[in-house]
Subunit: 457 residues, 4 copies
């Protein structure tokens, strides 16, 4: 059983952080939550040592009994941490003070500061990604719903900002879905493999004598974390894996938000956020008519901050000797920040998708706005068997460049009249006739969504 954190207060929204915070995730990222995770490690360490006979069972119980965050003074620890170079040193002092004298020798037994802080940050990551993954699941469900519902909703695909060919909104939503599935599965896999840290001062587990590997295994079990092959004091691959997975989550949600923002442009208008009531979200301080796509904007903003944080964690991952002089310390806040941003992005994307309004009429109108130009590939494809690919391409390109309507220009071409005729041309100009595998692809995505194992977190 993975120990749950003590109920920690949801942090009050700040002037800016309120915009970028996902409530449930944030509660796992507060100082009290981190402190509790550190105490959970100290308790589990004492118990693990007791399990293998290194520490008296009563001492372990006495230590565990005081390992609750509300017994400790966070600002005081913070102040003392400054001189020690990490918050574990003063925590161990304070914890030792709290336990009865006979248990004191067994506090923090055989561990080094990094063992406690790394394990605690892993615990925080495990806990914070629980609501995050739940939000991603809801996002995926919503995208699956959109994909199924709009399986036949024709719209224009856009490449390099230009109208290209027809597609369906169902396929677009299926693409979002597949992105979310990939991100969620990757993150869940990484989460499930996050290891406990235990190496002692030099990574040799020296203070545990012969029992070091056994203590590490028991500690992993008690904290419901994975067992590492070796202590990973300066092998930061767990941090890299987590950073990469969180970055990918921000990328997947960022893609949806970017699409929504562009589809919501005034001139496009194919989707809109929320209910758009007079007093609704997204109002402007100066322009009474504005309905800004707030969720899209903020998820986009969150996603744009991911690469710098991912890059920072890659940069700090090259750590020297048995404990790095700075590289390790540089990880702590960026890792928590990345968890916060990914959590916020998942929560906000959920809200965005739950309120998303789709406008099939505008999709159709935009598709038709160029008088069939977006069917150029379709027409060329039907001409190609007769004219060859290049010649067909050129015939259609010439017609597309004419100032008269595209259909008229095509009909004026002898090749088109000969090989397609007016009826064949109209068929070629029908968007519904040029959707290829769109439905198959939607079904593949929906099947993959249904095939996912139910989350066990």
């Amino acid at each position: 059983m993975r120990p749950s954190s003590s109920p920690s207060e949801e942090p009050a929204p700040g002037l800016l952080s309120g915009l970028f915070g996902g409530v449930d995730v944030d509660a796992e990222l507060t100082d009290p939550a981190l402190l509790q995770a550190m105490l959970d490690v100290e308790r589990a360490l004492a118990e693990a040592c007791a399990d293998v006979g290194l520490v008296p069972r009563e001492a372990a119980a006495a230590i565990g009994a005081v390992c609750t965050a509300d017994r400790f003074d966070v600002p005081g620890l913070g102040r003392a941490a400054e001189g020690a170079g990490n918050p574990v040193v003063p925590l161990v002092h304070a914890l030792t003070e709290l336990v009865p004298p006979e248990a004191r020798p067994w506090v923090h037994h055989g561990a080094t500061s990094q063992d406690v802080l790394d394990s605690a940050l892993v615990l925080v990551a495990v806990r914070a990604t629980q609501p995050l993954l739940r939000d991603l699941d809801v996002c995926a469900d919503r995208c699956a719903g959109l994909a199924a519902h709009h399986r036949g909703t024709v719209m224009v695909a856009r490449t390099l900002g230009q109208q290209a060919s027809p597609t369906t909104f169902g396929l677009k939503a299926a693409g979002w879905l597949v992105g979310l599935i990939g991100a969620g599965d990757r993150l869940a896999r990484v989460r499930g493999g996050l290891p406990v840290q235990l190496g002692g001062a030099a990574g040799t587990l020296a203070a545990h004598g012969d029992a070091g590997v056994a203590v590490s295994a028991r500690l992993a079990e008690r904290l419901d974390l994975a067992r590492p092959l070796l202590p990973w004091h300066t092998d930061r691959s767990p941090v890299l894996d987590l950073a990469a997975a969180l970055g990918a989550t921000l990328s997947a949600t960022g893609k949806i938000a970017l699409d929504v923002g562009l589809l919501a442009q005034t001139e496009v208008g194919e989707v809109s956020e929320g209910d758009g009531g007079v007093d609704g979200r997204g109002g402007s301080s100066s322009m009474p008519h504005k309905r800004n796509p707030v969720d899209s904007v903020l998820v986009t903003a969150l996603a744009r901050r991911a690469p710098g944080l991912v890059g920072t964690l890659y940069a700090t991952s090259v750590q020297e000797h048995e404990r790095a002089a700075g590289g390790w310390h540089a990880e702590w806040e960026p890792l928590l920040e990345l968890l916060r941003l990914a959590g916020a992005a998942a929560a906000r994307t959920r809200k965005m998708l739950e309120g998303l309004q789709v406008h099939p009429d505008r999709m159709r109108a935009n598709l038709d706005a160029t008088g069939g130009l977006v069917m150029a590939e379709s027409v060329a494809a039907r001409l190609a068997p007769h004219l060859g690919r290049s010649e067909a391409h050129d015939v259609v390109a010439r017609a597309a460049a004419e100032h008269q309507g595209f259909r008229d220009a095509l009909l004026a071409s002898p090749e088109v009249r000969e090989h397609l005729g007016a009826e064949g041309l109209d068929e070629a100009l029908d968007p519904g006739s040029w959707l290829g595998a769109a439905v198959d692809l939607v079904d593949r995505a929906l099947q993959a969504h249904r095939d996912r194992p139910a989350p066990t977190r």
Copy 2:
């Protein structure tokens, strides 16, 4: 006169943030401090509009009278900001409620949210960099002191981790000094040029009629900020300049910290941090003998986080149309974070330098440890006029590769005996004879330090 912020509470140190926070700077980066800056902008805007006759003077006075942060509910604004997409929308609502009815039409007159938030962030940057620059100045003074005092303290220069040739600790400190001067001057220059933001909804200052440019000028004057050529809603060069200068500050302090950390290695031992007393800083939770160079470690950690944040601000700087959908929003927190980290680095470097202990005896011992090998260039240089550069290099390289002592091996070489003799060789092996311009360079650096204008901030 630049308005000073209302006395804002110094934030309590957190478990981790306490390690990375520089107290004086942090006080300017809190939510109340940001809120006050936003209110300072609203007040100055009303007054600037009054200056040009757009707003009744009494209305401006009434608005200004309530522009103090403690009248507002930060968490409430944070919560409302989430729906609006920025904190200015609810602030304007709340501010309007507070003023008498007759002044209400004149609140936030002609401005858009971005005008207020950009200007407020600029004010925060101006205020936060004041203690930061002061700390940098103290650091520079301390380096100047070290450079002057150790002008003649011989030590070994190290290139690619290998002992190279002699230098002086004075020159090393002079290098630190020049880095700090460059960083401080750059930051001060950028700070002095940070512009006010005022463009109105579309960047045209439409709501100010003919008076827009005049209002902007008055606003700049009242806030003691620079006048921009145009509104810079989507020209983010002020943010880039600030990011670049803060990043350079973290680089300059990071260089000092890295050097200190390496010089403090057990095997090198040429400097140490603080007084190293039994209960002193840098103790270990497991190893009673450890004296970790905590300040060096943490400044190094701070410096390693700069590139990701600088990169983020460059990445978000490409902003579309008249206001970006996400790029702007993504700037806020990274900019404040960069201010926080740079402030912390300056404060901690100051502490590191103030406590730094220099060990000339260890410097000399390390210089002598290779039996004169570090004088190889010196010997080769004296042989070169006689043998040519390549042949001289090879004669010395061969001697350096011998297992007997370097001096003996050199004396065994006929070329050395012929062209230098024992006496000439000993002169060539004297580190003090091979310092070139070290003293001149120290003096150049000290002169540049003396020539800096006294700070007026």
Copy 3:
């Protein structure tokens, strides 16, 4: 006089690099160009040493006589560089072979590899930024032309992707212009201050005896580079300044490209690239009608690669001791890459702007498409003196939310009828009446453009 590089071959376009290369700049970034710059430094060093009497004048002349890149075997140097850790070591060997025996002792006199490579990279940067700055100047001229020509071309300003209020295309172009001026001036300033590197093995100029500072000064003069306060072997601020300025250049051009790409969207259509002929640029391999905004796309791509490179150079700037074990080496390619990308962006933006087609009719049509909604701020502003700001905002917001036309909905409001009347309303709905300082701002930008000193490069 700054020595010009020998005419170096313009590199053949590669499959991908052809898309991202700016021809004139690229010629300065080839291996032969870098080699020539290294040789220019060796020649100038010999001459500078001769100037102060350290090296016989004839030896300096003999060295200078062979310092042309075509005498050297680039792949051979590259192969040898691999074992030496930098290309200067084998170059000095090869150069020494080429000069007559009596000049050999004076090759590379008193310098270290980093002196030559840093100075050469600075020379390359100076040379490569010459065409770059010229391209930026042409871009600025073109934007000034657009700003002047379209001073009165009304279009809609867009914020967060939504139509906001009227502006002019002239003001948009003026914004681009100001961005270019800022980027160009910053880059030119940094370029003018790039220093020569000369420190010798340990940064003490030991091998130059008393003459080190004088040699350094002469070397700077001969290469037309700035004199540094100290050798900057591990003070990388010149690299940071250059990186920041190049990044800002990519940001300024990226902003223009992003705007062009969005304005060229099929649904917006306010600008288009090039002449759009049948065989023109931007065709698609599958869609005959497509006219992709290729230049916009590629400049956008270039700009998105800047932050990672800028961040890398900030990350590598913290360099230990007297020469870094890796940090220095990590700079070389990213710096050249950043020069290449910035050069390509400037050249391609120039092409994009030179071919840019502006469609005022589409601008007007888009402005009118929402039936006056974009004039909401204008209407509210005229109601505010009568109703108060909040009430006016709400009256207009309610009308904007009606399904009937905006004008009709407004006229249905008693407040509008009372305070504005139909005539006043129509005036309020006229975009031309709500442009504020747009013309003034364009003039300010044009004046700043005219006031720039003529380039002397």
Copy 4:
């Protein structure tokens, strides 16, 4: 069977690129190699279409017959690519010219440029990572050899740059090994899952009628790539996964290089690179005695460039609509660059490890240099059961702070005399007695290495 690339020429080493290139990998990253990969995709596409009956078998054969890179003009394609926005457009033109008229309609059938380029880049990645993974395997073997051989070689562990406690060089090498195993396994897993790209112009596979999904499956099979769930034109998770795995590879090799560089410092001297002969690698242009650890330095340099590239690929991964206007294009070169750097790092780390010389005598001397201080934890641990953890810590810390020898100071302490005695103290001061699980951990790592499946690439 995965098609192998045509034998492509190994690129000539450049002045700088020679230092950062890994020969075997580089051959897969040249323009001819990329071109061949694009042609492999065109050939396989024709065949896949023939497999499902969309294209006549003879036409497919005719197309396949000309798909060899040496039939094409790379600079010509590069020049034409510039106008088209990607190199596929001109390649399809040129390819069509080469095939007999009756086959021309079937060239590039139903594909879009991105299908070909994405699939080709995936092929290049698959091919380039083959030698890379082989080099990583050799590195792992070498680390396993070091770990086994030095299982009992005692040395000091260093944390935050300070000597901490004893460890073994075997455990250090085992840590390197585990890092390499993790990086190699991750990269191999990602490599095995890299998907083919096929979506057609709009991602609907429209031009393949009902057969799109089948064609995609056949294409994947023919290229020995994975089948994607959907076309991934704007779902860039394969690129992210590859970037993350390559970045982790650079991190794992960078950690080894950093350790080697620090252990090779003159003052530490515990390892050295290569044979250190007079004419050996790592010589200095100015200092005849220098033996720079060149491989360590260059691998360190390579590793420091990874985070910026990884960050860039995360930044460009948020791609809009059905094909991104710039984000996609920005990926190409950074992805190839990351492959190049990772390949070079693996090749150079291999060389570094193959030549690595280990100096157990210096390890022992450094361990003893502080007179037993590094055994402080050991002494404190033996006192703790008697005195309690805090009191034991303090007794030892006081002795450590004395100026007399550590052993004498400890013996002067009544608590030490009472609870340990001289004999017990000497046992506590023996490094071999305080290695905990070091041997167990080495064995775990070696077992994991033996358990890896033999590579099938």
